[in-house]
């Protein structure tokens, strides 16, 4: 076993993580009804301090982390974002700012670039300003985003436009692609939202039809060819219409970790939805020890724990049985095969739900917000 302070870097790096999602805060001016944050948002009073994050990034760099996503909530809500970014840059980590783009001034962005920010990922909810603002639950957001995109390019940074896809923008994919090209984006992410947490609560209002998703796939294929060398496009279908599950996180505890605003270290950002898992906090233990020894990371590492149909499946080492959170949500046990897989006995239920709900009249959005009851602090 390797403990903090050991110098056996070769052993460590064989299993060291490469990516770190740093959820700096759960505060956000937007209220997207498919927010990937947990239903129980962590309050600002419990957030890690500047010093905590600085130490975390130092430990992360030593541990082998190569890229970090400074995210949230909205990371620019944190007044100390500059100091946190600097700690990541000093640790040699490639830095992505994942932002809604509605709070940043040009001056502040310029400061971040000077510190060493490498890349900006900007969320764009829709190409229609009114619909974009309705989805985000924030008036005037759309025009601020367009402005930010312009600044990003002026300052010479690469830009990713991230448009989460769902029923309310699924028919606008071609326009979204053209919009991203016009903004000068190097990358476009048009991942269909996955139905966990907030999105799960809004599923009946958000899920598109199978035909719409398949048409999106054709549109992306055509655009990729046409935009070769100009803009790359990442496209993800909703699990409900998949045949094979996605290799979630590249395998649980294999290359990626998330740190929540209060310092909980999670194998994925949705892992807290799995009841019974216990998460350790960066305030209590060195990041390296948590990565190597935390029960939450070790519980679903590798593929030995997987029962059939995964156990005897030839794709076991390719998709690692899919997503633990979805397996838990649908089967009650996180070690089961992700129902997104056609070999899962729950798969037909998943498809049936999607096909039925995608044809229902949409309801009002349940917007993402802090609950009135303060959370009990640990």
């Amino acid at each position: 076993m390797i403990e903090a302070g050991d110098n056996n870097s070769a052993d460590l790096c064989a299993v060291a993580p490469m990516g770190l999602l740093a959820e700096l805060t759960h505060r956000c001016p937007l209220q997207c009804p498919y927010c990937s944050n947990p239903m129980e948002l962590e309050r600002s009073s419990g957030e890690l301090s500047t010093e905590d994050w600085a130490r975390v990034f130092k430990e992360a760099g030593e541990l082998g982390i190569l890229q970090t996503h400074l995210s949230g909530g909205e990371p620019t809500v944190r007044k100390d974002l500059e100091e946190i970014l600097k700690a990541a840059v000093d640790a040699g980590i490639y830095t992505n700012l994942i932002t809604a783009g509605v709070l940043l001034s040009r001056e502040r962005l310029e400061g971040l670039v000077d510190i060493g920010l490498d890349h900006v990922q900007l969320s764009v909810q829709h190409v229609d300003a009114k619909l974009a603002d309705k989805i985000a639950g924030f008036k005037g957001g759309y025009s601020k985003k367009v402005e930010l995109a312009k600044w990003v390019k002026e300052l010479g940074l690469p830009l990713t436009v991230n448009s989460p896809m769902h029923r309310h923008n699924v028919e606008y994919l071609e326009e979204i692609i053209e919009f991203a090209v016009k903004l000068g984006a190097e990358r476009l992410e048009v991942a269909h939202i996955q139905y966990y947490g907030w999105a799960f609560e809004n599923r009946h209002t958000l899920i598109p039809t199978k035909e719409q998703v398949y048409r999106n796939a054709d549109t992306v294929d055509e655009a990729r060819e046409r935009l070769k060398g100009i803009m790359s496009i990442d496209f993800v279908v909703p699990d409900y219409y998949a045949v094979r599950p996605k290799p979630c996180m590249g395998g649980w505890g294999s290359s990626f970790m998330t740190i929540s605003p209060t310092g909980k270290v999670l194998p994925c950002h949705a892992a807290a939805s799995i009841k019974g898992l216990e998460f350790e906090n960066v305030k209590d233990r060195h990041l390296r020890d948590i990565w190597l020894h935390s029960s939450s990371f070790n519980k679903y590492r590798g593929t030995d724990y997987l029962p059939d149909p995964c156990k005897s499946c030839e794709f076991r080492e390719i998709d690692f049985g899919g997503c633990r959170c979805q397996a838990f949500m649908f089967t009650g046990d996180a070690k089961n095969t992700d129902p997104a897989c056609s070999k899962s006995s729950f798969h037909k239920d998943l498809l049936e739900i999607a096909e039925r709900e995608s044809k229902l009249e949409p309801k009002e959005f349940l917007y993402r917000k802090f609950t009135k009851q303060p959370q009990p602090t640990k």
């Binding site: 870097s9 070769a10 460590l12 790096c13 060291a16 490469m18 082998g64 190569l66 890229q67 040699g92 490639y94 992505n96 490498d118 890349h119 990922q121 390019k153 010479g156 940074l157 690469p158 990713t160 090209v181 000068g184 190097e186 990358r187 070769k228 060398g229 100009i230 803009m231 790359s232 990442d234």
Partner: protein, 96 residues
């Protein structure tokens, strides 16, 4: 702004854009290319080529240099280098 696809030719003078970082990953003892949401692991020969992509040397010059070092036919080397650089350009990781 209209961006166009970079086609890598013999007289192209390739360079990595500022946001693509070629660096040694000490812990894993290998070279990596860091780009938005991507980590590439070029092989040692690709790393040699990439280190020559300074925006001044042409693909022809880089190919000559590599052909000399490895004592290999220039046409084969240049074809390989062009293919590798075109692939990078199509990913958006190469400028000229």
């Amino acid at each position: 702004m209209t961006k166009t696809r970079l086609i890598v030719e013999t007289d192209t003078t390739p360079a990595l854009p500022r946001f693509v970082k070629l660096r040694h990953d000490k812990g894993r003892d290998r070279w990596i290319m860091l780009a938005p949401e991507r980590i590439l692991t070029p092989d040692p020969i690709a790393v040699e080529v990439l280190n020559l992509c300074d925006g001044e040397k042409s693909v022809g010059e880089i190919s000559n240099h590599m052909a000399e070092i490895y004592n290999a036919p220039i046409d084969v080397i240049e074809k390989d280098i062009k293919a590798m650089l075109q692939d990078l350009a199509d990913k958006g990781f190469l400028i000229s």
